[in-house]
């Protein structure tokens, strides 16, 4: 039981810190409410309006890249802890292995730099090869993952429109669905 005490302490400390921060801002902060400020916070996006709004995909890209590298960096910690416990004979090897690991991270890093994934401004990305890549710049056909009249979006119906899947079932299979006998046609 005793070994869980630090956990309890940790819990208390974090509760206190969070509580202090929230209450301090409530007590100390100036109050000049406006329409925007009164609305709930949604990571910089307008919380009201159509959910189909477009916004830069780079946002996600950067976030995703951050998470990838973040997690991989965290992997260094357990390694550092066990490294101390290793016998000397193995240390060089383990060090080299971690070096390789970091090297692989760097390969990925250089790749995303090379592809211009970190260039926020499109004008800066002119050097990246995506500029010359017709498929990247080509207008995409509008995908309709459920449109106006559709109910809850069923993303499992992949690129399908409201009706049958675009393909997959061969012609007879599709014909079958229009006859309404297959379970799949029941929305």
């Amino acid at each position: 039981m005793v070994e869980y005490i630090p956990l309890l302490v940790m819990l208390l400390v974090s509760a206190v810190v969070a509580g202090v921060m929230v209450s301090a801002s409530a007590v100390l902060g100036p109050r000049k409410p406006s329409g925007y400020k009164a609305s709930s916070y949604e990571c910089g996006m307008s919380p009201v309006g159509t959910a189909r709004e477009r916004f830069p995909i780079k946002f996600y890209l950067i976030a995703m890249l951050f998470i990838v590298f973040d997690i991989e960096t965290i992997f260094l910690y357990p390694w550092a802890v066990t490294y101390r416990a290793l016998p000397h004979a193995l240390r060089v090897f383990e060090l080299v292995e971690m070096g390789v690991f970091v090297l692989i991270l760097f390969v990925g890093y250089f790749y995303i730099i090379g592809k211009g994934a970190l260039d926020w401004d499109e004008s800066e990305a002119a050097t990246s090869n995506d500029r010359h890549d017709p498929t990247v710049m080509a207008p995409r056909p509008p995908l309709r993952y459920g449109n106006e009249d559709s109910g809850p979006v069923d993303i499992t119906r992949a690129a399908g429109t409201v009706g049958a899947p675009t393909y997959g079932a061969s012609s007879q299979e599709q014909g079958l669905q229009s006859a309404g006998t297959a379970a799949g046609s029941v929305r």
């Binding site: 499992t156 079932a169 799949g184």
Partner: protein
């Protein structure tokens, strides 16, 4: 030192590939034909040179004169080709005197015939196709003779059969040619079945298919020690069965009674094909196989005796039919049948060396004769009927000269090559280990007499008697795919109907008889020299016998023993010579006195003569086969097998199953909706099924 023997086999294959893809390599037909006409003979002659080098450097220096080398350079000879269920076959080439001899014949004489064919086929639009098959044939034949086990021989065996089929029906627009090809192929099937069964029997007795192996593990080595795979003594009955089955294979390939009927028809192919495949090499494959298996055969006196009798009968029957043929190539075809019979006769009395010697000499003079007859036909613009020839000696003296040498060689005129090889066979026939030497010798001599007679008959009808055509007005009998007149001829106006009068043939000088081009004549000269010299150089000097000794089993290895010949060798020579000269002279006398017609009697009296009709009908073999297999068998196949077994039973079952499968398929495909959720459901169903299944199994087992 790495062996170069693989080159012998691969070179013709390379040529085959080149010719087969010539259409892609050269856009223009002329360029294609030109390239093919250099490459095709080139690779074969190169293979001949390699063969000579290998013989000198590898075979003659080896212990026992026997080496096994890999077919694929770099691999060990022990690399398995097939290794299934304890069944192993290697990829080796067996280099020994027998295989080298045959390789030399195939590549050497084959090379000459290739050169000849470049001239003969020069005007054929499909010349590249011809040489594609021709090179492939050489490759397959080399596999057959060089392979180190029965399976490789079988591959070559089937391969040469296919090439033979393809080449017999080379001018396939003529239905007769296509039929002849079919006949050869189908009759050979019977023989091949025998071979295949024999091979299986060998496998079950000896546990291997290799002729020779390390530490005496080869079939021949075991047979020599008279033991089987487990070391038990061989059962004579089983060995006799094996040998008989193998001999059935040889019957088919080497046109022996009763499977000989395809060979005369096979003359439908271009003449170089007849020379190479149906005279010099492929048809002797049976003799080669028997010689290769001599260790087995000497252990099986029954089979050996069968070989002897069949050989004798074939020699005799072939010669009698040869007496009455009027097509120049068919005379030679029956002569080939007859000579093959001689070879088997030699094998049958246990003198395999003599058989092989006759293979060698026969390859020389029969190739010469066929090519010579091809030159005659070429000169006559495709005419093959001797009744429409005559007097050609003056018009084409050089062709006459080589034909003359060929005729005297095959007739066994003293000191030409046929004399020595035939005498050797006759001598050993008289020394038959079964004591029937007198009969064998007598019939053999009679056959030799007939051979000399019909060959000189051929010479007279073709060259000496008065011309029975008008020079300058010869009709072309070219085949449909000959270059210049393709459009004029169409697909159906060809060879034997060939009454066309639109003044073509200018390329040959207006339908006149002409000497053949040098590409055809030079091989003829070489073969003529060989026909004269091979016998006297290799025969009486015993060079051949000593050379082949390591490859051939001695008769006394088995239960039989050699008997002394009826007559001493010198007397035998005199008798053989006398018989040959007698036959030649009789023909010269009979036909020399009828210079004008070249016929002994009128056509009308021929028809009336029952003996003539019998011979002209080829002893009624074809009639009987037609009656038994085509008519009766065909009726059985049609009325019983087809209408009941095939249509009702087999088709019914097949169609029923097919319909059922189609229905099931149409039903269960409905599961495939294209929706991921349904697929996930399928997976879930599988998960449940697997869990339930495995846990139920656990419950059952742990109850």
């Amino acid at each position: 030192m790495p062996s170069y023997a693989w080159l012998i086999v691969w070179l013709p294959l390379l040529g085959f590939l080149h010719n087969a893809f010539a259409g892609y390599l050269y856009k223009d037909l002329a360029a294609r034909k030109k390239a093919v006409s250099y490459i095709a003979p080139g690779v074969v002659l190169a293979a001949f040179v390699v063969t000579l080098a290998v013989l000198k450097n590898e075979v003659l220096t080896a212990a026992d004169h026997r080496v096994i080398v890999p077919l694929i350079p770099g691999l060990s000879p022990e690399t398995p080709w097939i290794n299934i269920a304890g069944f192993k076959a290697n990829f080796g080439l067996l280099l020994d005197p027998l295989s080298m001899l045959m390789a030399m014949v195939v590549t050497g004489i084959g090379g000459l015939i290739h050169i000849y064919a470049t001239g003969y086929m020069a005007e054929d639009r499909e010349q590249p196709r011809f040489f594609t098959y021709f090179n492939l044939f050489i490759f397959m034949m080399l596999l057959l003779v060089l392979g180190s086990n029965f399976l490789m021989m079988f591959v070559g065996w089937e391969g040469v059969g296919s090439c033979s089929y393809l080449l017999i029906s080379f001018w396939y627009t003529d239905e007769n040619n296509a039929k002849a090809g079919n006949k050869a192929f189908i009759v050979n099937r019977v023989g091949d079945l025998g071979f295949a069964l024999g091979m299986m029997a060998i496998w079950s007795v000896f546990g291997t298919l290799s002729y020779f192996g390390e530490k005496g593990t080869g079939v021949m080595q075991m047979a020599a020690r008279h033991v089987d795979l487990l070391g038990n003594p061989l059962n004579i009955g089983v060995v006799t069965l094996i040998c008989s089955l193998l001999f059935v294979g040889a019957m088919g390939k080497s046109a022996q009674i009763p499977l000989w009927v395809w060979l005369p028809d096979a003359m439908a192919g271009p003449t170089p094909v007849s020379a190479l495949i149906h005279a010099a090499t492929m048809v002797t494959a049976g003799v080669v196989m028997l010689t290769r298996c001599s260790w087995l055969f000497v252990q099986a006196p029954g089979a050996l005796q069968l070989v002897g009798w069949i050989g004798l009968a074939t020699a005799f029957v072939g010669a009698t039919i040869g007496l009455v043929q009027s097509d120049i190539k068919r005379v030679l075809a029956f002569s080939t049948v007859s000579q093959l019979g001689y070879m088997f006769l030699a094998c049958g009395v246990g003198n395999f060396t003599a058989g092989m010697f006759h293979v060698l000499t026969h390859a020389c003079f029969k190739a010469l004769l066929f090519l010579g007859s091809g030159a005659v036909i070429h000169s006559m613009h495709g005419e093959q009927d001797m009744r429409k020839m005559g007097g050609l000696k003056k018009l084409i003296p050089r062709t006459w000269f080589v034909m003359f040498i060929g005729t005297y060689a095959i007739a066994g005129f003293p000191f030409l090559s046929g004399f020595f090889s035939k005498d050797e066979i006759l001598g050993s026939a008289s020394a038959s280990p079964w004591g029937n030497g007198v009969l064998l010798y007598g019939v053999g001599l009679l056959t030799a007499f007939m051979t000399a007679f019909y060959m000189n008959r051929l010479m007279h009808k073709t060259f000496y008697t008065d011309a029975r055509f008008v020079d300058g007005e010869l009709h072309a009998h070219h085949h449909s795919n000959f270059d210049e007149h393709e459009d004029a001829h169409g697909a159906d106006a060809h060879a034997h109907e060939g009454a066309n009068d639109h003044g073509h043939g200018d390329a040959h000088g207006g339908g006149t008889v002409h000497e053949s081009p040098p590409s055809m004549m030079i091989p003829l000269y070489v073969l003529a020299v060989l026909s004269v010299l091979v016998g006297i150089v290799l025969g009486p000097t015993k060079i051949f016998e000593h050379f082949l000794e390591p490859s051939v089993a001695r008769l006394d290895l088995g239960p039989l023993a050699e008997v002394t010949p009826l007559v001493p060798e010198i007397v035998g020579w005199v008798i053989s010579g006398a018989i040959a000269i007698g036959g030649l002279t009789l023909a010269a006398m009979l036909y020399g006195s009828r210079k004008q017609t070249g016929e002994l009697t009128t056509e009308a009296s021929k028809v009336k003569n029952p003996l003539y009709a019998f011979l002209a009908n080829k002893w009624c073999f074809d009639l009987v086969y037609n009656k038994v297999f085509i008519t009766i068998g065909g009726k059985f196949a049609d009325r019983v097998l087809w209408k009941y077994v095939d249509v009702r039973l087999i088709d019914g079952a097949v169609n029923g199953v097919a319909n059922a499968v189609g229905k099931i398929s149409g039903t269960i495909r409905k599961v495939q909706t294209g929706y991921v959720r349904n697929y996930a459901l399928g997976i879930l169903f599988g998960v449940v099924a697997l869990l339930v299944g495995l846990l139920a199994q656990w419950t059952t087992l742990n109850r």
